[in-house]
Every structure is written in C-alpha cells, then in structure tokens.
Symmetry: C2
C-alpha cells in the first residue's frame, strides 16, 4: 500500500491549481491563450536586458552569484525608491525587494494575518491573492464593487461587521475586471480607512499601463495614507516576468517583519537578477519602453473590446478597461465557464474562468480575458474560436454572429 503522505487540512480534498491553470498555454502548442496575465514576449526589451546581465556577470560576478541580504540589493532598492517617490515620498530603507508581486502579496499576508483573521478584498479580486490569503489561514470577505471599484459604504459596513486586519485592493486597472477607481472614490476609500484605523494593502502592478489618460495616484499618496499602506509594485508587467522582481513600499515594524519573513521563505531574491535589473533601470529608459508597449496594448484592448461585442451572447456584460491587461465578462444565463473552458481548449482558445477570483460566492458565469499577450490578428482568431466554443455550449447568440 502506498504511503499516505501527511498534508495539512487545507489539502484534504482534491488539490485545485487555479494559478497553474493560467499557464496551460505554455504546455499547449497552437493554443491562443487569453488565460494568463502574460505580457507579449515579442515586446520585451530583450537586448538591453541581455547586455545588463552580461555586464553584471562580467564586472560584478562574484557579488551577483553570492548571497545578498533579505531586504534586497541597495542599488535596486534605490531605483525602486525613486520610482515610488513619483507618487509617495520614499527612502531606500522603505523598500523591500520581492520575487515579483506574488511574493509581496504572500509575505504581506504572512506578517499581518493570524489564522482566522479577516482580510477584506474586492469582489471579484486577484485569484493568486485569494490563494495566498488561504495559505496563511486567513478568512477573506469580499466587498461589493461597481465600475469605480470597491463601494465606500459597503467597505465601512464590512469593517464594522468583520473587524478586518487589513483591506487588499487593486485600484488601478484591476485584476480581473480591468476597472479603475477614480480619484474621488480613492479619497472616499481613504477616508473610511483613516476613520476606522484599518490598514491597506495596495497592489499596483498595472498603474503604469494606462491607455486613455493619466492613472490616478495610488491611495497611498493621499494624506495620512502612506504610513498605513503597504504599496506593492512589480516589474513583471512593465519589464519582464522572467526576472521575478518587485517591491513593497512600507515603513517601521511592518517592513522589518516583511524582511525577516522573506528570510525564512526564500532567503532573498537572486542577487544576479537584482544587480542586472538595477543596471538596466539605471542605464535605460524604462518609461520610454513602457510608452511603446502601451501603444501596442491599447490597440489590443480595442481589438478585444470590439471583437467581444460581436462574439458574446446578448445579455452578456463586459468591462472596457482604460489600462492594464484584462477584460472581464459576465455571461449570465446559468453558464459555468469551467465547462466552457474545456470546450474552448478543444477549439484552441483559453481564458481564465471567473470562479477562482471570488473570495466568497463565485459568479460561475464570469471569465477573465487577457488582451496583451497576442497581437490583434491572433486576438481575432482566438475570439472566432471562442465563438465556436460558445456555439457548441448552446449559448443563445445574437443574430448575425456564429
């Protein structure tokens, strides 16, 4: 009889892998994937990044290949502090380097939350944050949202009812909905947090990817909010995910706790990657690169928004994001997008089913589609395949489509 390896209670049933499912396309040649939040690799600033790694290994190889410190390389922390300071005055010692914003979310949960503690999240929210909060044994409570993000009155009510330790928000071009919280909503949310004394975890990986005008400043930039916010940034969406680097802006004891926890979780992020990226950010104009990427992503947003209107059944709702990477669709009509995904993959297209983006009561008819991974013609092909999958699932179609 095979040994029954002991697992914690969390894994008593079937072990779901919603994060892994997003990367399905990596193992499936020919699939058009709208599933992962994967930047288009063709747009990476590859040659300068190659030069940066080579420069560091040639001139600073011993340091690059050695252990570093858990808080991160001082050079990269300085560059990060300068970037964050565009919105929130930040010193080098207020930056903790992380392995992408995923580790930032996880470490944040790990240092804030005892098992059973409540964290409030948007409904829907980022699925890998849901996974991270579940792993530390937290209790997630979803707060209702509209097109402007979380509703301040609902937030205040949830705080009164659940006494949360913190609120986790993605205010700009949210994952999964693509929605952005306008400035006045940000002020209203900050007012609630200031009044109730609840801490904020502000996840901002997409803020630099606005298509239709300037992105509102982070909530952390509002009066009184810096000291009660952990502000999370990532280089994955604006530079390259494959280096796995991001950072947290915080201060005081909570930042010290993050550093100590980081030491026990991954010891430190790779010195090589940190030195090379610091070199790249010092000698190249990432902003100009982002400007160029943004133009391409806007075309793709337009292509997907226009295409979805033709493909979706009447009654379906879709967000029209002003930045970021995602459209969010609600099909309604009792459709389960998990079943639809299986059909879609047979037709050669993938998306992220919506169920795993909900803290509490999932709307099974929802799905997230990334528009950044593929050029417009591939988006069009993927949507044709999606239409075929929807037809096979016997979804009612508007006249003139399928």
């Amino acid at each position: 009889m095979a040994f029954d390896f002991p697992l914690r209670d969390l894994y008593a049933g079937e072990i779901a892998d919603p994060v892994g499912d997003l990367f399905l396309a990596l193992n499936t040649p020919g699939l058009v994937s709208f599933a992962g939040g994967m930047p288009d690799a063709a747009l990476f600033d590859a040659e300068p990044l190659r030069a940066a790694f080579d420069h560091v290994l040639a001139h600073d190889g011993r340091r690059a290949l050695q252990y570093g410190t858990s808080e991160g390389d001082p050079g990269l922390r300085a560059v990060a502090a300068a970037r964050v300071s565009r919105h929130v005055p930040t010193t080098v010692d207020q930056i903790q380097i992380t392995s992408g914003s995923q580790e930032a979310i996880y470490l944040t949960a790990l240092v804030l939350l005892n098992p059973g503690d409540v964290i409030l999240v948007e409904e829907p929210t980022y699925l890998a944050a849901v996974q991270a909060f579940a792993l530390v044994g937290a209790r997630m409570v979803g707060v209702p949202t509209d097109d402007g993000g979380v509703l301040p009155d609902a937030l205040a009510a949830a705080i009164a009812e659940h006494r949360p330790r913190a609120v986790y928000l993605v205010p700009s071009y949210q994952n999964p909905t693509g929605r952005t919280m306008p400035p006045e909503r940000r002020r209203a949310v900050a007012e609630v947090l200031l009044r109730t004394g609840v801490a904020l975890v502000e996840d901002d990986p997409y803020g630099e990817l606005g298509f239709d005008g300037p992105t509102p400043a982070p909530i952390a930039a509002l009066d009184g909010m810096a000291e009660r916010t952990l502000l999370l940034n990532s280089l994955s969406k604006v530079m390259a995910p494959g280096v796995r680097l991001g950072w947290v802006r915080g201060q005081g004891r909570v930042l010290k706790a993050l550093t100590v926890a980081k030491g026990a979780v991954t010891m430190q992020s790779p010195a090589l990657n940190q030195l090379a990226v610091a070199h790249y950010l010092t000698h190249h104009d990432l902003d100009a690169h982002i400007d160029a990427v943004r133009v391409r992503y806007r075309e793709r947003r337009d292509a997907m928004a226009a295409g979805l209107r033709d493909v979706l059944p009447s009654g379906a709702e879709v967000t029209r994001p002003e930045g970021g990477m995602f459209c969010w669709v609600r099909l309604g009509g009792g459709i389960d997008t998990r079943a639809l995904l299986a059909t879609a993959v047979r037709h050669g297209v993938a998306f992220a089913p919506g169920w795993s983006f909900f803290a509490n009561d999932p709307d099974l008819s929802t799905m997230r589609l990334s528009f950044v991974t593929n050029p417009p013609e591939t988006i069009a092909e993927g949507l044709r395949r999606l239409a075929a999958a929807l037809a096979e699932q016997a979804v009612a179609y508007p006249v003139g489509v399928a």
Copy 2:
C-alpha cells in the same frame, strides 16, 4: 501619533532577525565573517555561468524573460532528476524546482503542517528551518543527537510522545554541527520511521561536499523510504547562491501540493535562471567543479580545525566535520555567545551565535563557524581576532595563547 500597523501575534515583541544577522558581513567592510554559510565567491565557475546566461538570453530570450510554470522548467527538472537518480530513482515529474533550499524547506512546512502540528528536528538544527517552521505556526520538538546525528531511540520516544507529522533531518555534514550520520545510523532511523509511519523531510545541501571519503547515501535511498521522504537539494553550496535555485524530490499528492503552494508564494522561480542553469549543467561538468572546490574547502576545514584548538579555552568542545561548511563550538562555562559576538565584531570577526539553532532549550555558549568563505590565511587572521575577543570577555585561556 504614528499608525500602529497590525502584525500577527508572532511579531508582538521585538522582531529578531537571525537569518539577516548571518549576512552582516555583506554590509561591514573588513570584517572576517565565519557567520553565513557563504561559499567563497572566488571559486565560482563564473565565466561558464556568464556564458550560459548570455546564450539563453541570446537564443531563447522570450522564454527566459516570460512567465514559466510553478513546477519549474522541464529542462532543469530533467537535469535535477538525473542528479537525484544517482541515489534515488527519480522521474522528471517527481521534481519541484524551488528558489534555493530555503523555499523548499518553507514550502514543505507550509503543505505538511497545520498550526500547532509537531515537527521533530535535530537539536541543534538549521536556524532558517526553525524560522520557517515558526512562520507556519508549527510546534518544533528537538530530538537529542550525538556525533552520529539523531539518536534512534530518542527519535522513537519523541514520536510516541508528540505524534509529529514529520521529522526534519540534515543527515550529511549537518548545519550547524558539520556532523554526518553514518550508514548504520541512517538504517536505524529509517527503521523507526517505517515502523511508526512518520514522514521524513531530508535536507541535503551539503552531501556533495565530503572531504574524507564518500558521503553515505541519503536516507531516502533506503528501502521503502523514497515514497515517505521529501528530499531537498540546493545549488547554492555547490554552484552559486546568487541564482537561488534548488529542488525537492517527492511524489504524488504531496508534490502536487508543493507546486500549488509555490504558485501562491512566489508563482515560480525565474525562468531565466532556470534555463541558464539547465544550460550550464548540460554543457559543463559540475562534478569536476565540485571536486576542485572540495579540495580547497578541505584545506580550510583543516586550517580552522587546527586554529580553533589553539584559540578556544580549555573545556570548549568543537566538532571536526568530514565535509560541508561548518564547525560547531560549545564554549561552556556560562558564556553567552550573543554578547561575545558584539565583542567579536568590534575586533573584526563574526560568527553565528548558537541560540537560534535550537528548537527548544538553547545552549547559549555555542556558536557556528563557517570555514569555506575565506582562504586559510584569512581564517587564521579571523581566529586571532576571535582569540582577542575571547580574551576581552575574560574567558579562561589555556597557557600559551593570547
């Protein structure tokens, strides 16, 4: 009044940072550090590693800079499986890539242990494992050891008393003691685990660094043990820590749980690092490199062992490791090595005080000294400084020293 950021109960008091303290030397020019388990950067196989990163960024840059999968790059998993198969037959799908063995230890704790569950450890044990187990809320129980490692009868008694979920062992050139468990002791330990049905977490970052003959095979290689063991390896000690790569050998549901947990903690290890290291391991002879490093480390072990005999007060005990990186000293006589460290740093030398290597009752008079970071002449200088520090702490000296 400053905002009091909420932290989990673990951080209610002063936030100690024993892992961070090991890397003190990185910020202190001129310090001779025996503190961290830092390989000598002068011995890194730097030029071939540089070539491997450049090759991958030049020929496979889009994949290297993109997201990968949480289980790891198939090429690196294949190389890892081949290396592990030298001892334990292993297929590619039995390998989970991690960001060094620190993440492997942490993820292992995360998937095995509910808060309050017991894990047995050697007394003393690896300090960053203690940190990891504490972070998941586990209860650690230390099992007595002798020069051959954990005592089988004591292990059986602890299992009967504490009903642990797993046992964490570092059988080869243990951190912090440098001790190695002989083959017959490994068989006796396996017999206890097979009889009691307790799972094993076998941490083996040093097994390839034997100086005085072949290293005994891992416990996982013994009859019946593979399926009930998670076997952890790291490239940090034999190649370079700065790439942050290691792996876990496991199978079945526990491996699936590790992959899913990894997705929520760091999403995945950097694709770039994985592809480059897989390229390096495929095209270069790591074993030959390790052979060369081992010769140098043996000289250093000899230098430190000889030097310590002259420096330590009579009554002090010191291990004589047959491999790995560390000597372990017990000064005795009521000395607190935390106070001694402060004195030592003023004299320009650092070590790791022993208190943080104990799960339960620390012996405050212990300390760990790494002999691999520095060449013999620097070791000699560091030991002179340590002697001065000991003299200042008014330790009784043998005639002829100080």
